[in-house]
Symmetry: D2
Subunit: 301 residues, 4 copies
């Protein structure tokens, strides 16, 4: 067995735990870093053979969004995940899916539970995220009522089955937190796209946990060069709009003229802001722009 | 306003009720029967102009699975549907979807309920379907416990929100029967494919109700010629395998030789059965074949 | 190396010739017959474990168009194919593709040529197919003029490159018969769909040659049980419309009443034909129906 | 007829010429700017109703790559395009397509021709693009030989048809520059993705001409707010990698310390370059980074 085969065999069926009772594991993989190179080189023909080594080529392809060579590798995993989280997951339409059927079989007897120190408050800053953790005494009450609810949903489901209700109907009031299992198969390009969205800070904590596990425990060892490029060009990237670009250029020019050194002030920033922002008291796009320039060390508050 | 525009305006936003609190309604439509013809004629060029009228062409295309012209019409609907049913729905990956977000807003305060006379027993004949209705006295108990469960899931959800739990986490134990809403946009070919699978007798009752409503209330008036062809060539079709075909041919030949008239007996059928079936006591494929020949009036039990 | 690995290694990179200068070869494969079973069993859960053996399950799935388990296997091939044929090929949108770039590199110096005994006449029976071969003396002239044309396209292309014309522009008048190469990766379900359409008698000869080679030389040895089911339920299947079905039923009933034995005559057939056909002198749907009943041995001319 | 209907009717079937004998025209459209808003608001539920006006919401969605609401509008166009260009076009797999069939009908009697002042040299800077125009005297010769070649391909094609060769075979040596026609239907999100790639400076001139025409003549008037956002956030955007970001931050910090004002020199840039670049004489990624900082006015050469 070659080195690659050993690595794959070591990973295959190894269950990486996620949440209280979920997991992800590798089932199969087609290709490695060199498959991306192989596919790219057919596009380029003999022309590129010696121009660049594999790592440089992979990085070039990912940086310039030449996506098709990354479609030439494929990964299949098995996941155990709460239905709530799975609902978000399969909004990505480019994967192949086989899910456990609760029409055909009795539902998996497990629902995601929340420890007293895991309850999150509604985010103040945005309407869809979570904020700070709630105090533990509140958490105790919440977890207790979660247990009570799970007990009732479970006993109701079981009572229905005992009374002979069809499985497809009996399941109707299972909580969204009920675990399901599925095979999920996707090409590397679409997997990276999924991960870039679902490892993002705006994604819900639960699916971020799954994504990070898939990325770091499975994709990274299997495709080390691609993963490095992904971190440099996707996860670590910043995107400047036309308005951002032009603002920076104006800021540099005026700073050059006026002999000012960085970092620049909020006032300097506002002086060169986009014309369309000037009249606005609150402007999310301006706030986002300022945030980017802060992260670049161009401005400081 | 032309006749078509009037028809569309009449349908648009008209809510066709499904289940106890769901609905489907047309939001927008691109094209009509003639769009299918228009697209087909570009493929065929001038060559086919006079060969056949529109109805004949549409029927020919559908009968011979020339699918691309049917992709040239598009329908957008708004649905209100239990999440349980929606989970099956969006397994079809060829549609565009925008769903109500229970991260962003408080969940819709409605879950599908079941009347005492609507509880279905587990099918005896297959593992995944429903059989007869359960007796009403049993149904009374089941409905009562459903109400109790819904009351608890509702109060638990509300208590979480009041205690400041993030909406994305508070929703975790909502029942699968909770209603959601979504815009769903799909081309006519893929819609017909969806309907052929979900109007089928093997589909779950709930999604069949939605499919039939979409088909009969929306697609049929908007695309009458396509719909007629769909009923003749998809819903009303029968599919014979190589083994079925060869069995019929053998049966006809031996009946011809022996001077037997139809319908033929089970014994006649078994005499000409496929070689590979002969040794088997139980054989699902043989049962299916016999069922087809019964429906064709070739055999009778 | 296990048996499977040996089989795969034996096939990998083995070029199966197609046409005068084309080929297909296996690059990589994920899964085998048992991957289909594995995926199906997660859907069915524990419920189906002992009900049926693998072959029976695979056949059941394919017969009943349960397509998702077949998406869990994946094949990657390398093809060398005339652009003309490739144009039809990539109309199938469900595959991953990396094609040789004639912007980046000089075009492959080969175009498909036709031997004097390979020129086909226009089909009389349908507008899009080929009929009989043309006489060889005509073929000699056609092949000679093909050579003359290829010589000019080749020298023109080379002259452009020598004069410094950009490759992306120089290629504009290459003949459609010019060979290209591509990696092509697709899941087993979509591959079977592709093959069922492109191995069909209505497909153009050239793409049928490629399809048959892929099917018989690559898919069949790699997925023997799936391939057998595919031949029985796809390639060898017959599809009866509602009108066909009802006609057969009427024919059986009247034959039973009148004591007639099969095969039945054209007149018998016409007596029970669909009401909507009666008024029509020419009716393609009726002709198709009669053809099916002939193949079933129910009628004879 | 409302304003919108008038606009659509004015555009519909209006042929915008592209190249010497090509065109694009609108066939149908579903939705407008407000359809994007409509779809987004169902996702957000009542929560967002008053938070932002439509333009602000559309811009927010596009800036943050919330792509699904843009899938809720759909455009159908008819194009006449050289097959060479069309080959690149249909590599985008997310559209619906019906193309003129040269199996069914005689090929369109037109191939793209090149004026003496339109011949482009091979790019020196990259392997796949075009550079300067070639001198007109050279162009005269190239155009003359193009005409000669077109004359022969045309007469050969016609001779084959006259001798009775099947259309599907006769076409095999048509030049790639032969025009074809197709209906092409795509949702707004995928259309914008197509345009961002094909209006790009790296795309071939011919497909850029088509893309710009579609974008500016059809999409812009039909979806003015979306188009403005597209120009600001896609076409005019710049993407900074992790390495770019960190370099800028280091540059700002050292400039702050050393009291240097922008723009900075190549030497300043090299001092803070990424560690992994230092050892490299040639480094494309470094060149790209320097180029970005130039465009931002941060460095100057």
């Amino acid at each position: 067995m070659g080195e690659r085969e050993e690595l794959v065999e070591e990973l295959r069926w190894k269950k990486f735990p996620v949440l209280d009772d979920g997991f992800v594991c590798l089932v199969d993989v087609m290709g490695d870093d060199s498959s991306v190179v192989q596919a790219a080189r057919v596009s380029y023909g003999a022309g590129t053979k010696k121009v660049s080594d594999d790592r440089t080529l992979i990085r070039y392809l990912l940086r310039h969004r030449h996506t098709t060579p990354f479609e030439m590798a494929e990964i299949k995993i098995l996941v155990r995940v709460p239905m709530d989280c799975w609902r978000q997951w399969i909004r990505h339409r480019t994967a192949n899916v086989n899910e456990y059927s609760t029409r055909y079989s009795v539902a998996i007897d497990s629902a995601q539970t929340t420890r007293p120190d895991e309850w999150r408050s509604q985010a103040a800053s945005n309407r869809q995220g979570s904020g700070e953790l709630l105090p533990t005494d509140m958490g105790e009450k919440l977890t207790a009522s979660e247990q009570e609810l799970h007990a009732l949903t479970k006993s109701t489901y079981e009572a229905r089955l005992e009374m002979g209700v069809a499985r497809e109907q009996a399941r109707k009031d299972l909580p969204l937190a009920t675990y399901t299992e599925a095979y999920w198969k996707i090409d590397l390009h679409n997997l990276l796209h999924f991960l870039s969205l679902r490892m993002d800070v705006h994604a819900q904590q639960e699916i971020r946990d799954y994504s990070r596990t898939i990325g770091e425990q499975i994709v990274k060892p299997l495709f080390p060069v691609v993963w490095e490029a992904f971190e440099d060009y996707r996860m670590g990237a910043m995107f400047l709009t036309r308005l951002d670009r032009e603002l920076i250029a104006r800021l540099m020019q005026s700073a050059g003229k006026e002999g000012k050194t960085p970092p620049y002030s909020k006032a300097d920033f506002l002086t060169v802001q986009d014309e369309t922002w000037k009249e606005l008291k609150r402007c999310r796009e301006r706030d986002e722009c300022f945030g980017k320039l802060q992260r670049l060390g161009i401005v400081a508050e």
